[in-house]
């Protein structure tokens, strides 16, 4: 019989079970949280008195695997020249060893895993893998141990889907979507600049790709792609129906496109990612006119329970931009002039990777920073706003503790705001926002909320049957310090990290969906596929044996 462990006397924050700072015990056995019997005796008791107890963190939007991440690693050789930017292999007390790796804005796979665990996170999802890159992504995720992980597959510029949407074949869209998610062993469909990437691939710069611009040769619009795929994903009953990176990311005036995207979903469940980058007022192509339109967009989100967002907070410093939004990469390259990687992934997607530095003295960057914080503070229901830096696009996930401090400490937030250009206070309402997050709300936006939005019933809470993914923090008035170095982190009941030291490095599985669909509907797909792809249809699907865990 599995041993019974009690985490005794901690101050528990478990919002999914309406526990908000109660001093109580958490019991687990066999990797799951359990409800102990009245006379239960623990085989092991961990004294958590004075400590804060939360479920393990869940990052629902980051970039940690797949072709673009690997390109980022190659492109950022300058990130890891010095000896301190490398992690050496080390022996673990409990047996086994950690693997060597590198830090920088795009850490190596093993370092990514260890650092997530070190922050108290036990699950993370890469948000953009082209279907053709799924095999590589799975191989990299297999080398990202310790945490549970998964990825979303890119579908917003997929030729087959656009053809079926144009032909008015919603059942065909549904069947293909189900097949694609199952074949790639991915977790959710992801729309990136729907239709816009294909338009850019065909015609280059100078195309607006607003929601009603027609995608050349396909006779579809971004609006019809969003509506067609969102409807299919909802109909399939996917745990996380659709994850949308809106059109015109980063462009002044893009807030109207974002609002139109929210409206186009028309009551269906949808998640808008890195919303900070999509909330800009101002004239088209005029960076200097950029201002915040979070108030209008957050009002809409507050009034529509079908919508959720993750923020994509930018943090000041060096990082790497990586995106399936090829035209965005080109746009950034023209602004910053640094080295740039662009790729055309056959009939599926695009890609852009380049270094970027966010500076607090730069008005545009400081505005982006403030706009991100406005989102956290203006969405009333914390269950529908999720902490993310869009790692590494806005900044590293290692900045999450700093984001927590900015949200929980109004004085600190205002001190940082005061160091930014004065224009930030004129173009945003951040200075007027008094809201401070509570620990319970932090627990929602970092674990309970994203787990619920992902349909992960076993994660993000400490109720019986949940995975025993538990993080213990030492309280501090400096919330960044508190969240930077958890006292203990458990994954499925196994101690992963203690006081910053890795104890176990072999846990973790890759999460994905297997969706049933009508195979007869896709009878002609192999021929279509073989005429267009560089690989044979029969070699495309990921076998179960290729998925770690």
């Amino acid at each position: 019989m599995a041993s019974l462990t009690k985490i005794a006397g901690g101050t528990v924050y478990d919002p999914a079970n309406r526990i908000d700072g109660d001093v109580s015990d958490v019991w687990f056995s066999g990797g799951k949280i359990v409800e102990p019997s009245a006379d239960a005796k623990a085989d092991r008791t961990i004294d958590a008195s004075g400590l804060v107890v939360m479920p393990g963190g869940v990052d629902m939007h980051c970039h940690i695997a797949g072709p673009k991440v690997n390109v980022g690693r190659k492109l950022r050789a300058d990130d890891r020249r010095r000896p301190g930017e490398a992690l050496e292999r080390s022996r673990l007390q409990n047996g086994g060893a950690t693997r060597s790796g590198t830090f920088g804005s795009v850490p190596s796979t093993f370092v990514t895993a260890y650092k997530y665990a070190g922050l108290g996170y036990t699950a993370a999802f890469d948000a953009a893998v082209p279907p053709l890159g799924a095999r590589q992504a799975h191989q990299e995720l297999a080398d990202t141990p310790t945490i549970d992980r998964g990825f979303y597959t890119l579908v917003g510029n997929n030729h087959y889907l656009m053809e079926q949407i144009a032909a008015g074949e919603p059942e065909q869209v549904e069947a293909y979507l189900a097949w694609l998610l199952t074949a790639t062993k991915s977790y959710a469909p992801k729309l990136v600049n729907p239709g816009g990437v294909e338009t850019w691939k065909q015609g280059g710069a100078g195309h607006s790709t607003g929601l009603d611009d027609v995608v050349p040769h396909f006779n579809v619009t971004p609006r019809s792609i969003i509506q067609g795929i969102t409807a299919a994903a909802n109909s399939l009953g996917l745990p996380h129906p659709v994850h949308i990176h809106c059109n015109q990311l980063g462009m002044p005036g893009n807030w109207q496109t974002t609002l139109a995207t929210m409206e186009s979903i028309d009551g269906l469940t949808g998640h808008l990612s890195h919303i900070q980058f999509h909330s800009y007022g101002g004239g088209e192509g005029e960076e200097s006119s950029l201002d915040s339109r979070v108030t209008q967009l957050a009002d809409y989100v507050n009034a529509h329970a079908n919508l959720s967002v993750d923020v994509g907070q930018i943090m000041f410093g060096q990082t790497t931009s990586m995106t399936g939004d090829g035209p965005l990469g080109y746009y950034l390259r023209n602004i910053y002039g640094d080295r740039w990687y662009s790729a055309d992934t056959e009939v599926e997607a695009g890609c852009g990777v380049m270094p970027i530095e966010y500076k607090n003295k730069n008005l545009m960057h400081a505005l982006q920073w403030a706009i991100g914080l406005e989102w956290y503070l203006l969405v009333v229901d914390p269950w529908r706003v999720v902490m993310s830096t869009d790692h590494p696009n806005g900044g590293s996930f290692l900045a999450y503790p700093e984001v927590v401090r900015l949200l929980m400490d109004r004085t600190y937030r205002r001190d940082v705001l005061a160091s930014c250009p004065a224009g930030v206070r004129e173009k945003t309402v951040l200075a007027d926002l008094d809201r401070e997050y509570t620990l319970g709300e932090i627990a929602i936006i970092t674990r309970a909320g994203p787990a619920r939005l992902l349909g992960l019933k076993q994660k993000g809470h400490l109720g019986p049957g949940a995975d025993a993914d538990i993080t213990l923090y030492t309280p501090s008035d400096n919330y960044a310090e508190m969240f930077q170095l958890p006292r203990m982190v458990f994954k499925a009941g196994v101690l992963l990290v203690e006081n910053g030291e890795i104890r176990t490095a072999t846990m973790g599985q890759t999460l994905h969906v297997d969706v049933e669909y009508d195979e007869d509907r896709l009878a002609s797909l192999p021929d279509w596929f073989n005429q267009r792809y560089s690989i044979e249809f029969e070699n495309f699907a990921i076998d179960a044996a290729e998925v770690a865990g």
Partner: protein
């Protein structure tokens, strides 16, 4: 003076990263002998690989024996003198800010890469990327001086931003590739594609020259005063410049990058 004598018996690379004259100035020889250095994938005390003797407090080092597999010698040097009585490996003088590195033999690739200040003199030849940008960097050498009395490989002064590189022997291909500013002088023969993608800066080819790229446009023949002054400065440093003429043809390029770079080709007078 601190003397470090090589006891290496194989070619497994050793890294001197972090070992600078200033970092070790206050340490006694036995303490330096205990310092760990990487050899391949393992760390070993200096004493297992080198004999260390003398006093480092005057910031003067002498390296004796075979250092051709020892990398990062004088990397990040900020003050003092490092003299190598033989060959030295890759990344010698990388990102150094001040002081002097002198090498009696040959140097490996990336000599003085991304150097910021100080002076490097190599009596023999060097590998590729002398004074160049390291992989993924926007700019290479940003200050200081490199003098190579032998020949250099390809990509000398790649993406150079400031500073002065002089090659008394021959130079490989892609000399001054992506140069932003600064000066590269080649006394011997220069390989193909000199100055490709250069934006600004001066590339003085004072020996035999391969065919120039078509994106360089002839401007005029003249005798730049700066060239005469620089040759005089080299002469004062002990370099024989007697046979080098100062009459050159000026070409502007690379026209694909704005054409503000200067390529000076000797007229042999």
């Amino acid at each position: 003076m601190l003397t470090i004598r090589s006891r290496l018996t194989d070619r497994i690379p050793v890294s001197f990263a972090g070992l600078t004259t200033t970092a070790l100035a206050s340490k006694a020889a036995p303490e330096i002998q205990r310092k760990l250095v990487w050899q391949g994938n393992r760390q070993l005390p200096m004493a297992e690989l080198f004999e260390v003797a003398g006093d480092p407090s005057d910031l003067k080092w002498r390296l004796e024996g075979d250092f051709s597999a020892v990398h990062h010698v004088a990397a990040e040097l900020s003050d003092g003198q490092v003299h190598v009585a033989g060959d030295v490996g890759r990344y010698a003088g990388q990102t150094m800010r001040g002081g002097t590195l002198t090498v009696e033999g040959d140097a490996g690739d990336w000599l003085g890469a991304e150097m910021l200040g100080g002076r490097v003199v190599v009596a023999g030849d060097t590998g590729n990327h002398a004074g160049a940008a390291l992989p993924a960097s926007k700019v290479g050498m940003r200050g200081g001086q490199i003098v190579v009395r032998g020949s250099v490989g390809d990509y000398a002064a790649e993406a150079m931003r400031r500073g002065w590189v002089t090659v008394l022997g021959d130079c490989g291909e892609w000399a001054g590739y992506r140069m932003r500013a600064g000066t590269l002088m080649v006394f011997g023969a220069c390989g193909s594609r000199p100055g490709a993608s250069m934006r600004r800066g001066t590339l003085a080819l004072l020996g035999a020259v391969a065919e120039l790229l078509p994106t360089f446009r002839y401007a005029c023949d003249y005798e730049p005063q700066a060239l005469a002054l620089m040759l005089r400065a080299l002469s004062a440093q002990g370099v024989d410049t007697g046979q080098v003429g100062t009459r050159v043809a000026l070409y502007n390029g690379d026209l694909l990058e704005g054409g503000r770079g200067e390529l000076l080709v000797t007229r042999g007078e």
